[in-house]
Symmetry: C2
Subunit: 459 residues, 2 copies
């Protein structure tokens, strides 16, 4: 297999007749993301062409296009480098995050896989097959619960990869995990459940979504064994959102004893466990534990998505709900928007059917493991007083810092230095030990090492 260390380019992902366009796009993305910083030198065209097993003309032409766009500067014998002033992106992005506009900022923020690895060629092939075979019925109004072909494919996928064994008719395709949580919270509300227990600390995105739809969130502490079930019981909640396979952000795995306690809590309190299985594909040291769902399918609403394997932009997720929740959830989805768009669902079904999704998971697992290892090594080298928490899994590290460090102030100093990192405090309801959450998914080992070294200097 060929490939290039430079940007981890994978030539197999390039559509055969569009290598130049593909390479230019990869470079453009790397520059926009800051992976190729201002002034950075790109490899000589001959060298990169050899690494990728492309003809040299492809690389020369890609460099030329980017030079025309003002992104690269050709300096004759001195080589080619990234322009100092990068023109603004052609498409306006979300305006929610001021730092997004600064391409030189390195985002160690959490939750993103390496999006440059999105299997563009495989996705296009799947779309082409889907479009050439789609009947008029499939282009019409689809099943609000999700297209049949995808639910069939997911039924096998969930059984194989997560031990969630359900027939296709029990799977509800959703607009990502958020779509699943919002439907769940709304149906909870309709049923008079206006409070939900939530892990402390927990993902701020999910927290804000539940907070929008419900009256109150009841924080429950988390330790190295996962959520504290005794504390959960004390809240009197009848529903809880939890991340058993990989607690966010502590990285804890819910221990076997706690799994039993949690299920017992649900049985005794007529409680609903919302299992957010958000990044379970990425376990690096052993096979992932089975989802909690199988322990109590009547009590557990299992939720996940492909945002961590393919891309958040697809907005495809799913849920499997206890039988007495199912119909109300589907009806709510129907009333919300009649269901997810059909074409991406059919394309995803195709990716599962052909094994392309499985290959993508394996590929990303290797890549993310390497990055995690690099981040762990860098933390040990540059933050000797820090402690890494959690299992070897997922797309982020929780790094606990010495008690005297103010993690919010540290994150602010880091942002000023061009490194965006999330302080643990941002995920907490109650005060606790300081820390930073480092999302390593999108970054090369070298960049992680440099960023973590810079963090070390800032403390």
């Amino acid at each position: 297999m060929t490939g290039s260390d430079f940007l981890h380019l994978d030539p197999a992902a390039a559509p055969p007749r569009e290598r130049t366009t593909w390479l230019a796009a990869q470079l453009r993305t790397a520059i926009a993301d800051g992976a190729l910083g201002a002034g950075a030198r790109v490899p000589p065209s001959r060298e990169l062409a050899a690494e990728l097993a492309f003809s040299r003309g492809v690389v020369v032409e890609a460099y030329r296009r980017l030079a025309e766009e003002g992104l690269l500067l050709a300096e004759g014998a001195a080589g080619t480098r990234v322009a100092e002033t990068v023109p603004p992106a052609t498409l306006p992005g979300p305006a929610t995050d001021a730092a997004v506009a600064r391409p030189e900022t390195l985002h160690l923020s959490v939750g993103a896989p390496d999006l440059s690895a999105f299997p563009r060629a495989a996705w296009l092939r799947a779309e082409r097959r889907v479009l050439s075979a789609a009947t008029s019925r499939e282009l019409g109004y689809a099943d609000p619960q999700g297209v049949g072909a995808l639910r069939i494919a997911l039924s096998g996928w969930l059984a194989r990869s997560r031990g969630v064994v359900v027939p296709p008719e029990r799977i509800i395709v959703t607009a990502g995990v958020t779509g699943a949580l919002s439907l769940t919270a709304q149906v909870m509300r309709d049923r008079g459940l206006t409070a939900c227990a939530i892990e402390d600390p927990s993902a701020d995105g999910n927290r804000r979504i539940l907070d929008y739809w419900l009256d109150s969130l009841l924080p429950v502490p988390v330790d190295a064994d996962g959520i504290d079930v005794e504390a959960l019981t004390a809240t009197g909640a009848r529903a809880v959102l939890t991340t058993p396979a990989h607690q966010f952000p502590t990285g804890a795995l819910l221990s076997p004893a706690r799994r039993r306690e949690l299920v017992a809590w649900a049985e005794q309190s007529d409680g609903l466990i919302i299992e957010d299985d958000y990044d379970s594909e990425y376990r690096y040291d052993r096979a992932p534990v089975r989802a909690l769902h199988a322990s109590a399918p009547d009590r557990i609403l299992h939720v996940s998505s492909l945002s961590k394997v393919l891309a958040p932009a697809l907005r495809i997720g799913w849920m499997v709900a206890p039988e007495h929740w199912h119909d109300d959830l589907v009806r709510k989805r129907w009333a919300t928007d009649l269901g997810s768009p059909a074409l991406p669902q059919l394309a995803l079904a195709e990716l599962i059917r052909t094994g392309a999704l499985e290959r993508q998971v394996r590929r990303l697992r290797l890549r993310h493991r390497e990055r995690r290892n690099a981040a762990v090594a860098a933390v040990r080298a540059h933050l000797p007083d820090a402690r890494i928490e959690g299992i070897a899994a997922g797309l982020h590290l929780l790094v606990l810092l010495p008690r005297h460090v103010d993690d919010t102030a540290l994150a602010e100093r880091a942002a000023a230095a061009g490194i965006r990192v999330a302080p643990l405090s941002a995920y907490r309801f109650s005060p606790g030990d300081p820390g930073v959450v480092i999302g390593y998914g999108p970054h090369s080992p070298a960049r992680l090492e440099a960023a973590i070294a810079a963090l070390g200097r800032l403390i």
Copy 2:
């Protein structure tokens, strides 16, 4: 330009290197939809190849594939015809409609464009361009309001085609018209508006969505000038859902006097007009009237989608709301699912930018006009006592029947005879004249003629 009368095949839509696959898919669709009925003879391969300007081998191979699938029967010198017993479709469809499972049923039901005309090749080209250019940011979490590139493209499109002149930042991309209505109804509810006036008769889909989210719907009669504003005022409603450009299902155009009255109602009652501009692309006798929106942007929430030009399965629509509604609607969308998937939005932006969408509208307008004319002629020939209502627009005809006809019973007899047609009663709140609503979008003139002749015999 080449083309074939047989199934209205448009060879320009076939991807150059995949003509066989394309042709096979077209035939498969036609058989599944019933456009090619059991036992129907297909043209000799030589003839069809000449019409399409394809090599004969392409047609032979497409026929062979379908024969292998059991869909076609090659009978040597006698030619090739559609098998009597068509195997079930490979993908399960929505199970909501029993008649869907009977491929021999002809659906004259409303609201569908000719989905076989979906611009598959253009869509794939756009997706390919989008995927090769998409940055990691575009594959990440998008703007809940819609991706910038699409809102920019829509801003121009709405101004040119509908006279709705708004900057991109005032456009909210939605999951079709349903997505827009559901957000609107929810925000209405949050603001204490739990009732909505609605046209009588009106589309049952919209009616059921509003009915899900609100406490009461207040029916307002419609006549040949559109909604009766005096009756609307009498309801005391503070919001109304209306279809000014082409009332559904009567086909009335809101008259200039009524447009003024409706806007005056909104001003005087602090009312909200929800303008459903659902099929305004299809006006056959003159240029479409401008959307109502421009008359009172502070009072009108303008809603539309591409379901009638591209496909309902895309689930892409948009709304432009009065300024004091905008933020709450965007926030509701964020809390619902973080916004629509990015890739189809970017592909659509590309279709608008390159003019492909405009060409699609023109092409479908011609095709649908021809079908409308055929349906009108058939009604005049076979239902001499019936009266056709409404302007020459859209995708459906309202045919009023003599008073003694029970339209529900007629629709049931028609369904038993293999013709699915919607009785006007199904759209009414209060009793009124009987009629049938004939959706002509997906059907060839010959099939429309045959179906309407059969209806005539049933009365």
